[in-house]
Every structure is written in C-alpha cells, then in structure tokens.
Symmetry: C2
Subunit: 134 residues, 2 copies
DNA sequence: CATCTTATTGCAACAAATTTGCAATAAGAA
DNA sequence: TTCTTATTGCAAATTTGTTGCAATAAGATG
C-alpha cells in the first residue's frame, strides 16, 4: 500500500515525507477510527501542525475518510488502503462492528448514476444498541 | 413540529426555553446542515454556551443528527422534524443533494436484525463529483 | 394569579483544538 | 552533488468547546 501512496503522490508534485509516512502508518495500524488528537499522541516525530495539515491533505486525496464516532468525528483509511466496510455503532458502549454488504455497494452505484455523480467514496453507518446493551 | 417538541420535552421534566426555541428555529429554517459556530452566529439571543448545551441535548433526544460536510461535521434536524433523507455530496463544489431511498431504509433493518442491533439512527452518504464538476 | 421549585441561562474564566506566518529543512529532480 | 521548492516545526494567535456558579424564568401547584 505504500506503493499506492507513492503513485498518488508522484503525479501532483507532492512529496512523501517522514511525517506523512508516520501518520499513514498510525492510521494503518489502528483497528478503530482515530480522532485528530489521538493521531497526534500516536505520532512520536510528527508535529501537531503537520498532523492537521496531513489529515486535510489525505482527505483531499481520498486517502482517508472521516466517520461519525459518537458525538464527534474520527478518521480512518479510505477504500484502496483498507478493506471497504461500514459500521454498526453502539451508542451505549461504543462498540464498533465492521460490516460488509454488496447490496450497499450496488445501491451506491445505482443512485450515483441516477444523479450523474462520479463516486469517489461513500459512508454507511447504523447507530443503535448492540446485542449486549439492548 | 413545535407540537412534537413539546411532547418530547413534557415527559422528562425538560423545559422549552427561549434559547432552545431559537436554536430549533435556526435549524429548521436552514436548507443545508449547519456547524455549531454557524448556529451561533444565527442566534441573536442565545449564548454560545447554550448553543453547545442545547445541541448536545437535541442530539441525545434525537432531535438533530450530525452529518459530514466536507472535511468537518455539521448538524441538521433529524427524522420526525425533517423528511428522512441522505446526502450526495460533491467534494469539489460542496453541493449537497438530498436523497431518499426505500432500499436503504430496508437494508438498514435487515443488517441490524442480522446483528441483533436496535437501530436508533443511520447515515448514508455518497461523496464524489456532481454533474457540473465531473 | 401569585408563589415556589428547580431546570436552564448567561457570563467570565478555562482549557482544548485548530490555524497561520515564516524561517529552516529536506524531498527528489537534474 | 547541487538546486529548487514543497514541507516541516515552532511560536503565537484564533477559534472552539467546557465548567462553575449566581441569577433567571419555565411551568407546576395551590
């Protein structure tokens, strides 16, 4: 996947730098989505400022996507860098269940073409109470 | 819909106050989702603090929901107060197209019951380039 | 309608999160 | 190895979000 990163960067005169590598790795090694400040604390070398700037860059390049996490937002790697999935999220205990569904992928395409949209990404998330908390 | 508000509040010893009314109205009159600070500037009487507190309260009561808007998150009225819908969002120009789809609603229920989940809310969002920006 | 209880507000002071300007640094092309 | 310039780190400024608390005002009650 570092391979893919290089490809993306190569073109638009962007450089693969140490902070960018580190932030990417942090995101990659995390199971759950992370908030900006969590990413911060996981980065030993990259400066706070770089984290924010990199996060925005990654988002613009669709390398990461942001997802709802409780009342706030967090980030995780996007499609080509992670197996595409969605979330079932328990509002009580915070549990996050990954979910894959061909039907959704399908629906995305149908809806998009109906609206003349070129899809780059999508999000599907169900919030509620999990088995244990219901 | 003010009617519904009253019903919700009546029970749990909550009061319908001026700031709460104002914030609700601001949300109601807005086409697009608003950020906390946008809501702030639209409120003439309610204090910043009240806005934050009210937003959290409304969220807990499922009166509003938060949605992705570009890189950040914004709020809009939830189901009973607005027709349930999803978003097609253009990453280029920021355009937001409302979308309704019975299939999604359906899928939500199927997936949820497969996982023993009690659904309280869900999000579906497609990001990409709109007709004009593609 | 006056009164009483207490949920809610506004404010001021904090604390945390995010942004900006800029000189120093280091990718990566030549 | 050199050179260009994208990117970084740092310090300072802003913007966002939070907390404690006395003052206020919903709305229940008589």
């Amino acid at each position: 996947m570092e391979k893919e990163l290089e490809t993306i960067f190569a073109q638009q005169k962007l450089r693969i730098t140490r902070p960018r590598r580190e932030i990417f790795r942090v995101l990659q090694q995390s199971q759950a989505p992370l908030s900006a400040s969590m990413i911060n604390t996981h980065c030993t070398t990259a400066d706070r400022t770089s984290v924010y700037r990199t996060l925005e860059l990654f988002h613009r390049l669709s390398i990461i996507k942001s997802v709802q996490f409780g009342w706030r937002q967090r980030y995780e790697l996007a499609d080509p860098f992670k197996i595409h999935h969605h979330h079932l999220s328990c509002t009580q205990c915070g549990r996050l269940i990954d979910l894959q569904s061909p039907e959704i992928e399908n629906l995305v395409n149908v809806v998009a073409s109906q609206n003349n949209f070129v899809v780059t990404d999508h999000t599907f998330e169900i919030r509620g109470l999990c088995q244990d908390c219901r």
